[in-house]
């Protein structure tokens, strides 16, 4: 299909049924964004002590769980499924095989997330005996209502079906186009989904085998280290699951918005293959301070993590070079002067560029997190949320919002209500996050803990380094407020856009790469090889640690109670007496045994 023809038709014109799916997914995503932002501003003002009147500190975990789950599971993944549907259909230039299956996975995901959401929000009221204050990292010993886990399981199964839907569409395309290279956007979707299948298998196992039966009371206890490890098996690749749609946009959409072309299609493929290979065998780097995992395994995980910097640095090069090409096309000159020739008034462009810039800063703090020794300095401090608000909270979220300004007209034929508000909104997000994240990092260095409703302590002062604790609190609160305002502007602009009449002539073109797929080695498209290597790396990184964890703590654990902790005093007292008594008995038996052996030995000698 030629560029000229494409320019006449939007995605909606060409694929109305698929456009409806994409729209529905985006709307689900933005609903989650709205809820997440509300809980975000509540918690920002609460923990900084600016306003503690809205919730009790005892409800802080409920708010934190809602903020985390709605934003990093619901907002991101719903946007991803919408974007990936668009990307597969657009780049293969064919409709999905069976739209009923598409709606099935959408409804499964929406239903699952609704169940999970209800179980979390119920924690805010005493009227319903239900809560799921387990945070986004829902491992034991924190325990949620069974509805939370059931909803998550349904949601994940829905996402698996979505992947199968895209694979099926690709296979159908391949039959009609034998020997052709996989179009880049579809290649990105497929590699990301393979990574997701590998990663989410662990969390599905954790939920279905351990957490759900435990929360239903079918099993007494679980091995907390095991559920933690299975969570982080999924918990690190999931950050790339958030990030890969942003990368897809940076690689394929951003260069065209800048008036350029993707610099290198082969490099883009290499990057996605590297993420498929390296995203999963690194999860233990979230557990550097966990007892029960040998240092050697942590070291292997750290090495893999450092390799993972490579595809991100490749991306920095490729994306910036593609944008630079656009700037040169627009008449830009000089070593830095070309930056002035870029379309900075376009909210989609500026938003994505600022997101990329924040991601570069996130790389700095990420390297600190990833280093085993300096991780100890910031582990479990508010530095860590500071870091991931740069990555998922800006690189991903801001890219999604910016891309919406470009993509929404393509799937609705409605022009954006106000591009000026859009531009203001993305810049406001950048400023708000710069303030908030910077202060969070600085507080983390002072040792201020994360996930704490009232992080100040009586009789203890945080050491003063770059501005005191209180000053940084104010910075966090201002930043958080700007972020909330930015979200309100985004949602408001979108709602007003929905009121616009449909028009024609909104079609945008994605231009082919400077160095196209024909320059890429064919082996890159052989997905079976990459699946094989990815699984091998995962087995190498995880088989021994998991075996050791199960060996040390048992498959169902040594018996860890739930939170709130039940201390049965009678059992406690009994254990206090029984355990030393049992040990004395063992000692006595050993003594007698040794004597018997000695006697027998002397008898033999005699």
């Amino acid at each position: 299909m030629s560029d000229a023809l494409e320019a006449e038709e939007t995605f909606l014109d060409r694929y109305p049924a698929e456009a409806k799916v994409v729209r529905s997914a985006f709307l689900g995503s933005f609903l989650a964004l709205t809820l997440g932002a509300i809980f975000g501003i509540i918690q920002t003002l609460h923990r900084t002590g600016i306003f503690r009147g809205l919730i009790d500190s005892s409800d802080y975990y409920t708010v934190l769980t809602a903020h985390g789950v709605f934003l990093v599971i619901s907002f991101t993944v719903f946007f991803l499924v919408g974007l990936f549907t668009w990307a597969v259909v657009r780049s293969l230039d064919r409709p999905l095989v069976n739209i009923k299956i598409t709606w099935t996975w959408y409804l499964l995901m929406a239903g699952g997330m609704t169940m999970t959401g209800i179980s979390i929000l119920a924690g805010l009221t005493d009227a319903i005996d239900m809560s799921a204050d387990v945070l986004y990292t829902f491992y034991a010993p924190l325990q949620a209502h069974p509805l939370f886990y059931t909803g998550l399981a349904v949601f994940i199964v829905g996402s698996w079906l979505a992947g199968a839907d895209w694979f099926r569409t690709w296979l159908a395309w391949r039959e009609d186009n034998p020997g052709e290279r996989i179009p880049l956007q579809t290649f990105m979707v497929l590699t990301t989904m393979i990574m997701w299948y590998i990663a989410s298998s662990a969390v599905a196992a954790s939920v279905l085998i351990f957490l759900l039966p435990w929360s239903l009371g079918l099993i007494e206890s679980v091995n907390p280290t095991l559920t933690r490890t299975l969570f982080w098996f999924f918990g690190h690749p999931v950050v790339y699951f958030w990030l890969m749609p942003a990368y897809l946009l940076w690689y394929t959409v951003l260069p065209s918005i800048a008036g350029g072309r993707l610099f290198s299609d082969p490099l883009a493929r290499v990057v996605f293959v590297l993420f498929l290979l390296l995203s999963t065998p690194v999860g233990i780097h979230h557990q550097y301070l966990d007892p029960g995992i040998a240092e050697g395994f942590k070291f292997i995980s750290m090495t893999n993590t450092m390799f993972l910097l490579l595809p991100s640095l490749l991306t920095a090069f490729t994306v910036v070079a593609s944008v630079e090409y656009g700037a040169r096309q627009r008449g830009g000159t000089g070593v830095f002067g070309w930056l002035r020739s870029l379309p900075w008034r376009d909210p989609a462009f500026t938003g994505m560029m600022l997101a990329g810039l924040m991601f570069a800063a996130g790389g700095f703090s990420g390297m600190v997190n990833a280093g085993m020794n300096i991780n100890y300095m910031i582990h479990n401090t508010i530095w860590v949320p500071g870091h991931f608000h740069l990555t998922v909270g800006t690189a991903v979220a801001l890219t999604f919002m910016a891309a919406t300004y470009w993509l929404w007209p393509q799937i609705t034929n409605k022009p954006v209500y106000s591009r000026q508000i859009g531009l203001f909104q993305v810049v406001l997000w950048f400023i708000g996050m710069a303030l908030m994240s910077n202060a969070m990092h600085a507080q983390g260095l002072l040792g201020v803990p994360r996930r704490t409703a009232e992080p100040e302590y009586s009789g203890f002062e945080y050491p003063v380094a770059f501005g005191g604790f209180e000053e940084l609190n104010v910075q966090i609160a201002i930043g958080g407020t700007l972020l909330f305002l930015s979200t309100v502007l985004f949602i408001g602009n979108l709602v007003l856009t929905m009121g616009n009449p449909r028009v024609s002539g909104l079609a945008e073109t994605i231009r082919p790469a400077l160095s196209g797929p024909d320059d890429a080695p064919k082996v890159l498209d052989d997905l079976r090889i990459w699946v094989g290597i990815a699984v091998t790396l995962v087995v190498l990184a995880y088989a021994l640690p998991l075996a050791a964890i199960i060996n040390d703590g048992g498959l169902l654990g040594p018996g860890v109670g739930t939170y709130p902790v039940w201390i049965d005093t009678a059992v406690g007292a009994l254990a206090e007496v029984a355990v030393p008594a049992a040990w004395s008995l063992v000692d006595a038996l050993a003594f007698v045994g040794a004597r018997l052996l000695e006697a027998a030995a002397s008898g033999v000698m005699a």
Binding site: M1, N177, L184, R261, Q329, V368, A465, G516
Partner: protein
């Protein structure tokens, strides 16, 4: 026929025939690495000089 990626670069670009050399990108990445190096040195002051030794236990 799929869209976008199968065609090579067409000559409708202003400098379509010329070899594109991303010097601006190289310059920006050099700045990034310079910041990285400075931050690396800076962390020494935070980690080792900014606070006293902590002995646990």
């Amino acid at each position: 026929m799929s869209r976008t990626e199968t065609a090579g670069a067409s000559v409708d670009d202003a400098s379509g025939d010329e070899e594109f050399d991303p010097v601006g990108t190289l310059a920006l990445i050099a700045v990034y690495f310079a910041i990285l190096l400075i931050a690396w040195v800076y962390i020494y002051f935070i980690e080792f000089l900014g606070r006293d030794l902590v002995v646990v236990g």
